[in-house]
Structures are given as C-alpha cells and as structure tokens.
C-alpha cells in the first residue's frame, strides 16, 4: 500500500481573468505521507488556497495527476467528487463558516446527515468529537454565543466528525488571538499525532507553521522546502 496520502504529479492550474490567463500553479509535484502535518506558506497570490482547493476536491487541476487517499480525482464526476469529499476530506475555514441558526451540536452533526447512520450513533459521535475539541459543555450554544476560538473548535469538530483521513485548513488561526491560536494548533498537532490525521494547513504565520511536521513555501507556482 502506498504510504502517501497525497500524490500530486505535474499539477498545473490556470484560469482566465479578463483577457489574460493566470497560472497560480505550474507543474507542481507534491507528496504528503499519511499522518503528516504539512504547513504551506507563501506570499498572497502564490497559489496556497488554490492548491488547498485542489487537494480537497473543491477545484480540479488544468493538467497533471492528483491522487488522494488512493483515488485519482480526475476520474470522479462532480456528484461523485461531492460524495468523495464528504467521506475523505474535512475542510477548516479561516472564518469558520458555521451555520449561524444551528447550535454547535447541529453544526457538527451536518456532515453525518449525509451518511446512513442511526440517530443514536450520530449523537454519540458528535458528542465525542465536541469533547475532543474541548467543547462538551457548549453543545447547545449557537455560533453567536461562542468566542472566535470556540467557533474554530466547532469548525474543527465538524471537519473531524465524519472521520476523514485528510484535514485541510485555510489559515485556521488567521482570525484568532495568540492564545486561541496556540490552542487550535495544539489540537491540530494532537489530531495528527494521536489520531493519524493527515493535515495540510495554509498559513501566513511562521509560528503556526512551527506546529507542523514540515513546511513548504509556495512561490510563483512552485514549491520550495523550508530551510
């Protein structure tokens, strides 16, 4: 069995912006091991989020091969890709993107509603994940009743609850104070080390990158190993 969770080979992504063609990623190769915590850094516009979107199946490459968890994503139809995403990828957004009218519990439950699972099993799973992120006592709070750090924990719980092998995080600490950011990074490291999750995190913050096993810099569509 291949030990890599992510295998990108010659991946390029280009799109039209007005009359010009922009190529944020060009012939990019990347391998990420199962259970590895990878930080992606780089200046604005370097293609970090584009790469994250490709890895999570939200976007598709213009050329090249992208194999995630043993699946060649190019083979999937749009519908299959949506289903695959719900089972294999947990997405953590910078601004959490929680549903404001739902409680923390209901937000975390959302991904499980897509899979055939009994209500009892679903509720146990949601409670255990909320306990894992330290919010077992906040399950009935709505996002507006939580702090930024707590909201991000709920978002992480939501990304984790369907037990996907891959977590992608787009600047998960970008909108948090230092203490909250540290707790989130500790949690991500714990998820990688103790639960074997493969994590790819985009960040601008070198301190956040230090939490990762490996850091790569993306510049002009190419990846460079950090010194």
């Amino acid at each position: 069995m291949n030990d890599n969770m992510i295998q990108c080979t010659g991946v390029s992504k280009s799109y039209r912006r007005g009359s010009t063609t922009v190529t944020p990623l060009e012939k990019l190769d990347l391998s990420v091991r199962r259970g590895e915590f990878l930080a992606l850094m780089g200046p604005s516009g370097s293609g970090k989020t584009t790469l994250l979107n490709l890895l999570s199946g939200i976007d598709s490459p213009t050329e090249g091969s992208l194999v995630i968890a043993g699946n060649e994503l190019a083979r999937f139809s749009r519908r299959e890709l949506t289903k695959w995403r719900s089972q294999h990828v947990g997405y953590i957004f910078q601004l959490y993107h929680l549903v404001p009218v739902l409680s923390a519990f209901e937000n975390v439950e959302l991904p499980l509603l897509l899979s055939p699972m009994s209500k009892k099993e679903r509720h146990e799973r949601v409670k255990s994940v909320l306990d894992l992120v330290g919010l077992g006592d906040r399950i009935h709070h709505t996002p507006s009743e939580l702090s930024g750090g707590q909201e991000q924990r709920v978002a992480i719980a939501r990304a984790l609850v369907a037990a996907p092998p891959l977590l992608v995080a787009d600047e998960p600490t970008g909108d948090l104070d230092r203490e909250s950011a540290r707790k989130i990074l500790d949690l991500l490291r714990q998820l990688s080390r103790e639960h074997g999750k493969t994590i790819v995190m985009v960040t601008h913050d070198p301190r956040a990158a230090e939490a990762a096993d490996r850091t790569l810099h993306l510049e002009k569509g190419q990846l460079l190993e950090a010194a």
Binding site: I58, D59, T82, H97, P100, V101, L102, L110, A162
Partner: protein, 383 residues
Amino acid sequence: MLPFSYAVRNLFRSRSRLLQTVGGSALVVLLVMASVAINTGMTRVLSASGSPHNVIFIGAGSEESVQRSEVPDSSAEIAQASIPGISEKLGVRAVSSEIHYMNHLEFADGSRAQALLRGVTPQALRVYPDLHVIEGTFPKAGEVMVGRLAWRKLGVPAEALKLGVRVKLDGQSLTVSGIFAAPGTVLESEIWGVLGDLRVLSKRETVSCVVVRLDDPAGFPDAELFAKQRLDLELSTLRESDYYFRLTQFFQPLRVMTWITAGLIAAGAVLGGINTLYAAIAPRVKEMAALQAIGYGRGALLASLMQESILACLTGALLASVVAVLLLDGVTVPFSIGAFTLEVGPEVAITGIFTGLLLGVIGTLPPAYRCLSPPLTVALRSA
C-alpha cells in the same frame, strides 16, 4: 438532505423579511382567490339561471336583448295550443308572457337606482318552479314583488325594499307585496310586477318574450318548428340555458379583466417577493458554499431553500384563506344583470394553496440560482 429545522430557523433570521414574504404571498393568494370566487360565482349564477326545460320565444332579430324584443301579445295563447309537451299542473300550462323593462326606481328617501323589472302573470310561477315567494304575496295591480338580492343589486339598504314599502316607477307608486327567492339565479335581483302594469308603464302593445316550460328538454325541436311555421309572429327560439350561456360569453371580457388585474398585481407582488427572497438568500452564498464543501450537493441545498420559501408562502396562503373566509365568503357582488354570492369553497381554497406553492417555487429559483451557480472556489471567497 439538510434538516428541516435548518429551513424553519432560516425563516426567522430576519422577521421583517419573513413578514414581507408572508404578507406578499398572502396578498397574491387573496387576489387569486377573489378572482376565482368572482369568476366561478358569475358563471355559476348565469348557468343556474337558465333551465334546459325552458324555451324563450323572442322577436326575430332581437336575440341579443330581451328588452328590445317585440313579441305579439297573442303568441302565448297560440304557443300554448300548438306546442306539444308543455309542462302542465292542475290544468294550468307553463307558458309565461313577459315584459322585461329597465328603468329607474325611486325610493322613499328620494334616491333612484336602475332596476330590471319583469312584468309577469301568475303562470310565471309554473315556468320557474324553483322561484318561491318567501314573504308576502304574489303582486296584484299596483304592487311588485322583489327578489331577495334586489336591494344589493340596486345598491340600496335592505329596508328600502322591505314588505309594504312604496317605490315609484315613472311616477307611478307601487307597493312591495312580496319577496321571492330563486336560489343561485339572477332572478333574485329582479323586481316583478303585474304584466298589465308594466305594459302601461313601458307604453308597449307587445310583450318582450314568451317563456314556455317543456316536460322534456328533448321537445325543443317542436318549439322551434312552431316558430318556423308561424312566420306571422316573427319569433326566434332559444333554449333559456343557451340564452344565459350567451350572457356568460358576453361577460367573458369582464372576467378576463378580473384575471388580468389580479395577474398584474400578482406579478408585482411576485417580483417584490423575489426581491425579498434575494435579500434573504444572497448573503448566504458563503454559507451555501461551505455546506457544499462539507459534501452537500446543490440539489440538497436547493431543496432546503425551497422548503424555506414554500413554508413562508404557504403561511401567506393560509393567512389569505382565513381572510378570504372572513371577508369574501358570502359577500354579494352586483353586476349589470343581477348579483351573485361569492363562495370560498374547495375550488377556491385549492387554487389559493396551489398559488402559494407556485409562488414559493418560482420565488426561490432566481435567488437560488444566484446563490448556487458560482463555482465553489469563487463562492467561498465571495464578500
């Protein structure tokens, strides 16, 4: 599928928007219900007014207007003796000579209103078996009996036409001797007097028409043959039901106008509703994109948005139904030849609910398209 509670709670994100959606939908549904009630009410009263058993002999060339028709006075007697199959009770044959006369009636308080008067003989009660004198008596000379909805058609208080009241027609004082009912027909809006009185008042030597009731509607060809044979009488033959059917066609433009007016107001309300739903859904582009990133398909999200707006629109439809029952049901609406009663029955209610449903679906599609059509990567970055 997203939980139904998501759709329900989204409704309450902005109470003012919810009120606008529910109110707009209620307005449209109420208009549609009113239009259906008016159209069905008018059609019902006109189709119920004509019996297939009754044959009208009318002056040739005056088929469009009984009032202008001239039929020789002797026609009733000749028809009675010549046409087989005329309904008969206790030796009295159902043949009614009538004068239809439109003129202003003057009331005790000095107010005037244009009324449709019918000069008849007691034989008319044989021709219209569903007509019953419910108060007082059939009129004698110098008297009239009034249909129970005549006051509504004339736009006067009910007291202006109660028993014993005197009204004036062309300066002639007439006393209300009776009130009659002829359920569901335009006859209920008419005023009936004695044929002789009406002949004098309308200065006619002829009658407007002769109405004959046949035992079997299949006997109509015999009646038609009679008119063709008696060329000297210059008669044209019409089934009474056909006469009222023609009137239904005559009022078709009025009914079309009702629909157009309702349609225009509804279109405005629908556009307003779409605008409100835009305002409710458009700010959720990112939220929808995040749900797609989690694994929800566009179909599931569209279904949830549909649930949300259908729920709001059906609440409006329910509100409109309550208002319709309270304000429209049983209301009498006058029109040029009579009056009819609005009924908020199953047909009206089902049309209302269907309209609410349609509004919910149509209103969701444009904002949902705007919300769900951008590529996920663009939607996630949207402001």
